[in-house]
């Protein structure tokens, strides 16, 4: 149950792109075509699934306050958590290189489809963000960490797939010159993020702080209404045309 909850929560409610804006750079740069978007999305799921559990182990057994106690009782006083940035990013960079080599060796076809994206991923903030959120949300077991990595990867994949599909279609519509390209993509992403907020009420029943969540759902409901109004306006405009 806990696993399932985390799974849906990290895909829909805490979606990497729409709730925390992680990995926006590659999200905006590589979403012009659905095909390349799928390639990058798959690579992100893959790398997150490898690096989040690994960094969880690092955090649990090396970095955390008193984590070195397994070396002997005299190490219990060490708190190396200030090193976590440098250790996490080093793990990510090496893992990406390693994954690249392994994939190239064993599955050249997958390598060709992911090829250019893999090295790009080392500096994708979604990957480091995944590890840092894993640390700050204090995920408890290795299984949950693996789950968190995979599901937030899927959330990112969904987001980039959706925006790529929309961008392919929007080429046929008459966008005002200055908004064309980047500007309209920003605004669409904003509207999509408002849409994703409606998932916020999905898992509230099992939450401990129901009062707080009901407050936020009210404010979110306002947002949804606004979006509905906007979308009906868009429909009206297009029918007039």
């Amino acid at each position: 149950m806990e696993q399932l909850e985390l799974f849906f929560k990290s895909i829909f409610i805490d979606n990497m792109v729409f709730a925390t804006f992680l990995g926006m750079c590659s999200y905006l740069a590589v979403s012009k075509k659905v095909k390349t978007a799928v390639g990058l999305g798959a690579a992100v799921i893959f790398v997150l699934a490898v690096t989040v559990p690994l960094n969880w182990l690092l955090d649990q057994y090396i970095l955390r306050d008193g984590a070195l106690v397994w070396l002997g009782p005299e190490y219990a006083q060490y708190d190396l958590s200030f090193l976590s940035f440098i250790l996490f990013i080093a793990t990510i960079a090496t893992m990406v290189q390693l994954v690249e080599i392994v994939v190239e060796k064993f599955s050249p076809s997958l390598y060709n489809s992911l090829g250019i994206f893999l090295p790009l991923i080392a500096v994708n903030c979604a990957i480091l963000g995944g590890s840092l959120f894993m640390q700050s949300r204090e995920i408890e077991t290795l299984g949950l960490a693996l789950n968190y990595g995979i599901s937030s990867g899927i959330g990112w994949f969904l987001a980039i797939l959706a925006i790529a599909a929309i961008r392919e279609k929007i080429r046929y519509s008459n966008v005002p010159g200055p908004l064309r390209g980047l500007g309209i993509t920003f605004i669409i992403t904003g509207l999509m993020a408002i849409g994703f907020m409606s998932f916020g009420g999905m898992l509230t029943t099992s939450g401990e702080n129901e009062e707080a969540t009901s407050e936020t759902t009210v404010s979110k409901a306002e947002g949804i209404n606004k979006e509905k109004i906007e979308s009906t306006q868009i429909v009206e405009v297009s029918t007039i045309k």
Partner: protein, 215 residues
């Protein structure tokens, strides 16, 4: 500017408008959006990035001839990570509340594409002084957008600027609130950051039509 030659001055002024890292180069969006609900957080973020990018550019530029090109990404990441750890510890020591608000986004400066982008595009090919100016210029451009977005979100969302109630008091109904003005809580939600940046791009590109993309 008597201190800088014309070419050097361009390094600082270009990123402010026509070559802005966020609206034109599309770098460093992630952190720009997530922390801009308050003006203070935006300013701190801008200053942190300025420190990391300015110093990092100089360090990379000094080492540019001895870094083997195959492992340059890892070397760059280590340099950035070290600088970010300094920023993080300083924030934790002197502005603890603020560092809680910024949470993981201080750490995410490491993977802020502006930093890697400028290292790759500029510091690896230019001397330290020019790289320093480039770093300062780009982080100023980045900070400008951050502060603009933070300004509008805080002003319209909570009616304050840097925590001061500039529009009057919503409970005692003074200032604008006496006329029935209400805060737009929607501005504090994260999607509005995206929409505001979209609008900034719109304004900028209609003023300078040469920037319009043709798709």
């Amino acid at each position: 500017m008597g201190l800088l030659s014309k070419k050097d001055a361009k390094l600082i002024t270009d990123p402010l408008s026509d070559d802005n890292p966020i609206t034109i180069q599309v770098l460093g969006i992630c952190s720009a959006l997530a922390i801009t609900a308050e003006l203070e957080a935006s300013i701190v973020m801008a200053v942190s990035v300025m420190f990391v990018l300015g110093v990092g550019n100089v360090v990379i530029s000094l080492m540019r001839n001895i870094i083997p090109s195959k492992i340059r990404i890892i070397v760059q990441l280590i340099v950035v990570a070290t600088l970010v750890i300094i920023v993080d510890l300083v924030l934790k020591a002197f502005a603890y509340e603020l560092s809680k608000t910024l949470s993981v986004f201080v750490g995410l400066i490491i993977t802020n594409c502006i930093i890697m982008g400028r290292f790759e595009a500029f510091a690896l090919a230019n001397g330290p002084w020019r790289s320093f100016l480039d770093g300062i210029g780009n982080s100023l451009g980045y900070g400008l957008i951050l502060i603009l977005v933070g300004f509008f979100r805080e002003l319209l969302g909570s009616g304050t600027l840097l925590g001061y109630k500039v529009l009057g008091d919503p409970i005692e109904l003074t200032g604008l609130y006496a006329f029935g003005y209400e805060n737009n809580g929607f501005m504090l939600l994260s999607p509005m950051a995206l929409i505001i940046v979209g609008l900034i791009i719109w304004v900028q590109r209609s003023r300078n039509t040469s920037l319009i993309e043709d798709e």
